[in-house]
Amino acid sequence: MGPGMTEPETKRDAGAAGDAGEEALLSELGQALVEGSLSDADLLARTGLPAPVHILPQANVVKIGGQSFIDRGRAAVFPLIDEIVANLGRHQMVLGTGAGTRARHAYSVGLDLGMPTGVLSVLGTFVSMQNARMISYLLAKHGIPFIEPAQFAQLPLYLAERGAVIFFGMPPYIYWQQNPRIGSGRIPPHRTDTGAYLVSEVLGTRSMIYVKDVEGLYTADPKKDKHARFIPRATVAELAAMDLQDVVVERAVLEFMANARIRRSIQIVNGLVPGNLTRALDGEPVGTVITAD
C-alpha cells in the first residue's frame, strides 16, 4: 500500500465487464465487444453493420493545392476565390488547404537535422494552417470561417449558415504521424490530400474534389515528361497495377479508398481553368475521376 491507499471496508465485485446480469447491454454485439477481443476477425466483421450514416450528405470537400495552387499567388488564387463565391448557395463547400513549397523547405531543413516524422508532421501542419488563414481572409467578407480540428463540432452550423468553411488539410496526427515504410523516406505519408479525404469519408459528403494545377492523373509527371498521357478515369486497382513512379494524389488516399465505407471516388481538376471547379461541384466528370470500384 502506498500513500493515500487504504483498505476498503467491504470487498466489492470489481469486474464490471462480466456484470451484464439484469441490465443487459444494448445488443449481443455490445456484449461481445465488451467481453471479446478487438483483434478477432469474426467480431470485427460484425461491427460493419449497420452501414454508417452520412453526416453531411450535401457537403463537398474541396482541397486547394499548396504548391500547385496557392503558391502561385493572386493570379491563380483570386479567380478561384471568385468561383467559390459564385457557388455559395449552390453547393456547400468544406475547403481544405495544402501546404506547398514552405513545407518542402521545412521538411528539407528538418530532415537534415534529424527531425522524426512526427515533428515533420507538426511543421507541415503549420504551413497548411498559414494557407488556410490566407484563404480565409479572402473569403472573410462572406462570413466564411477558418476552423481548426477542435472546432469541427461547429462545422455543420457554419456550413448551414454560410455555405462554406475552411480547414487546414493536414490530419491532426502531429507526433503520432506514422513513418513511411522503411526505404520510402521519412516525409509524413499522411499529408493534406489524406486529411481532406478522411474528412470527406467521415462526414459522408457527396464529393471529394482536389483542385490542382494539372488536368488530373497522367502516366508520368506532365511537368517533366512531354510524353505523359492523360488518364480521365481509373480505378484504384488499375492504378496499383500501373505501379506509377509518381501519382497526383497521396498514395494513402488510394489505400484508404479501397477500405472506405462511403467515399469511394475522388476527382482531380485543374483549378487554373475557370469553371472546372463549378463543373466538378455540379457532378460533371471533368478532370480525372478515381474510383475504388
Binding site: P50, V53, G114, V202
Partner: protein, 297 residues
C-alpha cells in the same frame, strides 16, 4: 541526409522561376518557390521519397513508455490496480516513466452504441478518447503522491520534454489524436489506432528507451489463454513469424505489426502481465519477463 545539396546551405530566397513545362516567359501564374532540396519536386515521386531516408534524432532517450491496460488493469478494481500503482511508484525512483492509459470497458460500450447508431469509424475514434482520458485521471490521482501528473492531450506532446525533466513521470490518454481522421479499417468499423498504437507512436517519435504493454496475460500465446487452457506461451517472436502464424486473436492491437515494421528507432516492445506487478520493474530493467515482439533483422 544522404545527398546534401549545395542549395540547402545557401541563404533561403524566393525563387520566382516557374516549374515544369510552362515557358517562364509566358506563364502568367508561376509557382513561387522557396529554395530547398525538395523545391519543385513531387513529394509523391518514389525516388524523391527514397532520397529523404535519413537518421533520426532521439528526443527522450532515457524515458520509458508504458501502456497500462484499460480493461485488463484499470477496470479490474483495487486488488489489481493498487499493486500496479505501487510497482510503478517504486520504478519512479530509478526511471522516468511516460504512462499511457487504455479506455477499457467504457470504450467498448461506446463503440457498441455508436455502431448501432451508424456512426462512422472517425466518430468512434473521437468518442474513445474520453474514456482513456478518464482513466489517465484515475491513474494520475493514484500517482499524485509521487509527483506524477496527468497531462491534457492538447499540450501533452509539445510539453512532454518539460514534464519528463521536471516530474518523475507523466500520465496521458494513450488514444492517438486521430479522431475524425482515423483511417478506415479494412473490416468492420472499429478504429484501428487505439491506445496500444498511441503509446507505440509516441515512443517512436520521441525516441524513448522502451515500450512496455502492461495487460492481464503473461504475453502472447498460440491461442487465447483465457479460452483455451492448453494455449502455449511464446516468449519472443519476430514480425515475419507473427504474420505467418496468423493467430486468431492477438493480445495487442494488430496495427502494431505495421508500426513496428516501419519504426526507425523502436525495434521491439514487450507485453507483460500487470497482475504480476514485480514484472513491471523487471521489464524496465531490461529483463525478459513477458513476450518480446521484435523487428526482423
Amino acid at each position: 541526409m544522404s545527398e546534401p545539396e549545395s542549395a540547402a546551405s545557401e541563404p533561403t530566397r524566393i525563387d520566382p522561376r516557374p516549374a515544369g513545362v510552362a515557358d517562364p516567359a509566358t506563364d502568367p501564374r508561376p509557382r513561387h518557390h522557396v529554395r530547398s532540396r525538395l523545391m519543385r519536386e513531387s513529394l509523391l515521386d518514389r525516388d524523391v521519397e527514397r532520397s529523404t531516408e535519413s537518421p533520426v534524432f532521439r528526443m527522450l532517450p532515457e524515458a520509458h513508455v508504458l501502456k497500462i491496460g484499460g480493461r485488463s488493469i484499470l477496470d479490474a478494481g483495487r486488488e489489481v490496480v493498487y499493486p500496479v500503482v505501487a510497482a510503478l511508484a517504486s520504478c519512479l525512483e530509478r526511471w522516468k516513466l511516460i504512462l499511457g492509459t487504455g479506455g477499457g470497458v467504457r470504450t467498448r460500450h461506446v463503440f457498441s452504441i455508436g455502431i448501432d447508431l451508424g456512426l462512422p469509424t472517425g466518430v468512434l475514434a473521437q468518442l474513445a478518447a474520453a474514456d482513456a482520458l478518464g482513466n489517465a485521471h484515475i491513474l494520475g490521482t493514484l500517482l499524485a503522491p509521487y509527483g506524477v501528473v496527468a497531462i491534457p492531450p492538447e499540450i501533452f506532446g509539445h510539453l512532454l520534454p518539460l514534464f519528463v525533466h521536471s516530474a518523475p513521470g507523466v500520465v496521458f490518454s494513450s488514444v492517438p489524436p486521430y479522431s475524425l481522421w482515423e483511417h478506415p479499417p479494412g473490416v468492420g468499423s472499429i478504429p484501428p489506432h487505439r491506445t496500444d498504437a498511441g503509446a507505440f507512436l509516441l515512443a517512436e517519435c520521441f525516441g524513448c528507451k522502451s515500450l512496455t504493454l502492461v495487460k492481464d496475460v503473461d504475453g502472447l500465446h498460440d491461442a487465447d489463454p483465457k479460452q483455451d487452457p492448453s494455449a502455449r506461451f511464446i516468449p519472443e517472436i519476430g514480425l515475419a513469424e507473427l504474420r505467418r502464424r496468423r493467430f486468431a486473436t492477438l493480445p495487442f492491437e494488430p496495427v502494431l505489426l505495421d508500426l513496428l515494421a516501419n519504426a526507425r528507432l523502436l525495434d521491439r516492445f514487450q507485453l507483460i502481465n500487470g497482475r504480476r506487478p514485480k514484472r513491471i520493474q523487471a521489464a524496465l530493467a531490461g529483463e525478459h519477463v513477458g513476450t518480446i515482439v521484435h523487428r526482423d533483422a
